[in-house]
């Protein structure tokens, strides 16, 4: 008999499986679940983007591209980064097209973090940073951001977390699940802490196109002296409703991008070719469609936030991404307990805040990537659930 205990990598075995898997499985068995649980747009990929993908297939563009990605796409990304975020990147050396933002994060951490290096991770945040850090032998150093700071990373908390072993700061804004954003003045303070250090920022800006209230996203790489110490990770999934196309990119100093490209070259070869052609169309001809989707998200955001507050769950205005993050503390339940009971009693699926780090205790994440009718029905059921509790 083969001994899998001896086969499997202890580092992998040490990664804790998502504690809420069981509860996901329960939802799968229910017929009339109304979910606010997903982290991806409900809009289909805009037609002109799909068409560009189809056209590339018709023209037999079905082979590998350059490891870094199509030259034309890298040039398009460079122009986009300049136009949107006022950052200049050399498409030949400072941009790598990846399989989703996820690959950029993975390869970015693998290219930089050595055994024992510390990676600072503000939480609650997206679930991948901690396990990947562990896989590369790094030590995750979690900063728990606080509701009273609007879940922003503060310079005080950052300064307190930095040690001589700190290698990387993950900057996950606009933030899934909290909806927090970092405005220019917030970023200035973070930049001031980092400028004289040898710490690299991996800035996960996948939700950059989704900020509300007239404040356009600011990238920390656009601040003086920061581009040389920042890898900007972005992608097509959220802004252009292209989750299934698996396409993202990393922009940063050529010294680092060259090394990330080596990992990408051996592990992946190149990002999907069809997706790359579609992505060029996304960045060049879709401003209007993207603005329309953002407007729709904004209306839903206002609706879901008002509705949570009306049924008595305090919910601050998320400033970016597409999630509401209301507090459920007043129910006296833990986040997981709340979500399990809500699912059992009303068949409504939301994600416990603790799925995104211990600091998410007392909160739930409710996605508003759903029609207004769907959101209203879900909130009606949550309202009933709360009434039946009291």
């Amino acid at each position: 008999m083969i001994d899998y205990g001896k086969i499997l990598n202890p580092e992998v075995l040490n990664i804790k499986p998502s504690g809420i898997r069981k509860f996901f499985d329960i939802a799968e068995t229910m017929k009339d679940v109304i979910s606010l649980g997903v982290g991806e747009p409900d809009f289909p990929t805009p037609w002109q983007i799909r068409q560009a993908g189809i056209k590339s297939l018709e023209e037999s563009k079905t082979r590998y591209t350059a490891n870094r990605g199509l030259q034309a796409l890298r040039e398009t990304i460079a122009a986009y980064m300049k136009r949107k975020y006022q950052i200049t990147y050399d498409p030949a050396k400072e941009i790598l097209v990846t399989v989703g933002g996820s690959e950029a994060i993975d390869a970015g951490l693998r290219a930089t973090v050595c055994s024992g290096d510390e990676v600072i991770i503000p939480q609650p945040s997206y679930v991948c940073y901690e396990p990947i850090t562990q896989l590369v032998g790094g030590v995750p150093v979690v900063i728990e951001t606080r509701a009273e700071d609007e879940f922003k990373l503060t310079p005080e908390a950052l300064r307190a977390a930095i040690t001589p072993k700190t290698k990387v700061l993950i900057l996950p804004y606009p933030c899934n699940p909290t909806g927090a954003i970092m405005e220019r003045e917030d970023l200035e303070k973070i930049a001031a802490v980092l400028r004289d250090t040898n710490i690299l920022v991996i800035s996960d800006e996948i939700y950059a196109e989704l900020t509300f209230g007239g404040k356009a996203h600011v990238s920390i790489a656009s601040l003086p002296g920061m581009a040389e110490r920042t890898i900007v990770v972005n992608g097509f999934s959220k802004a252009f409703s292209m989750t299934g196309w698996r396409l993202g990119y990393a922009c940063g100093p050529k010294e680092i991008i060259a090394q990330i490209t080596k990992i990408h070259q051996y592990a992946i070869m190149c990002a999907p070719t069809t997706s790359q052609y579609a992505a060029i169309a996304a960045m060049t001809g879709c401003d209007e469609v993207v603005a329309e989707m953002a407007e729709e998200y904004d209306a839903r955001r206002r609706l879901i936030v008002d509705s949570f507050n009306k049924i008595g769950l305090t919910c601050r205005n998320p400033r970016g991404a597409f999630y509401a993050f209301p507090s459920i503390r007043k129910t006296g339940m833990s986040s997981e307990e709340f979500c399990e009971k809500l699912l059992a009693a009303k068949h409504v699926a939301v994600v416990p805040g603790t799925a995104f780090g211990r600091g998410g205790e007392g909160f739930i994440r409710a996605s508003y990537c759903y029609s207004t009718e769907h959101i209203k029905e879900a909130l009606r059921r949550i309202g009933e659930f709360l009434e039946e509790l009291s």
Binding site: G37, V38, T372
Partner: protein
């Protein structure tokens, strides 16, 4: 911004004042006053329900009629269009560019009824030089609303 309000109502005329207030970020009173004003000034012309009659035994037939019109001194396009639109059988009338002049959507209980209406009423109008009738066989989408149910949310219940 009334455009935002109109877009929302155009999508769903049954949103409550409270929903509209939430979604536009304005007070219920302001939204109500705006709607009132939009109705009075004629920007909002009415509220209707999109019905898929084929799901009932109460189905009807409709047709697109191409009208060619040779305008005369007394009966120009405008006059013909206004005359046509008064028939209760007529759902919509558009002045068109291209190979014909007026596009008329007509509704009736039977194919025969619609055909007779075209022959007896539309084609006899002075200035109308020809008609072509195209019956609608199936409706897939009407007024932005999809009438077939093959779309479903394939995203599952959870993802991070």
């Amino acid at each position: 911004m009334n455009i935002k309000l109109l877009k929302l109502l155009n999508k769903n005329a049954r949103y409550s004042m409270a929903d509209l207030s939430s979604m536009t970020g304005r007070s219920i009173e302001e939204v109500a006053a705006d709607i009132d004003e939009l109705e009075k000034s004629g920007v909002i012309r009415g509220y209707k329900t999109v019905v898929d009659w084929e799901r009932l035994d109460n189905s009807y037939v409709s047709a697109l009629i191409e009208l060619k019109v040779t305008p005369k001194a007394r009966l120009g396009f405008e006059e013909v269009a206004k005359k046509v639109m008064k028939y209760p059988e007529v759902e919509s009338v558009y002045l068109m560019s291209g190979s014909y002049d007026l596009c008329v959507m007509v509704k009736g209980k039977t194919f025969q009824g619609v055909a007779m209406f075209v022959a007896k009423e539309l084609s006899t109008i002075e200035s109308v030089t020809s008609t072509a009738t195209h019956f609608v066989l199936r409706r897939y989408k009407e007024l932005d609303v999809e009438l077939c149910d093959d779309e479903h949310d394939d995203r599952g219940h959870f993802s991070f």
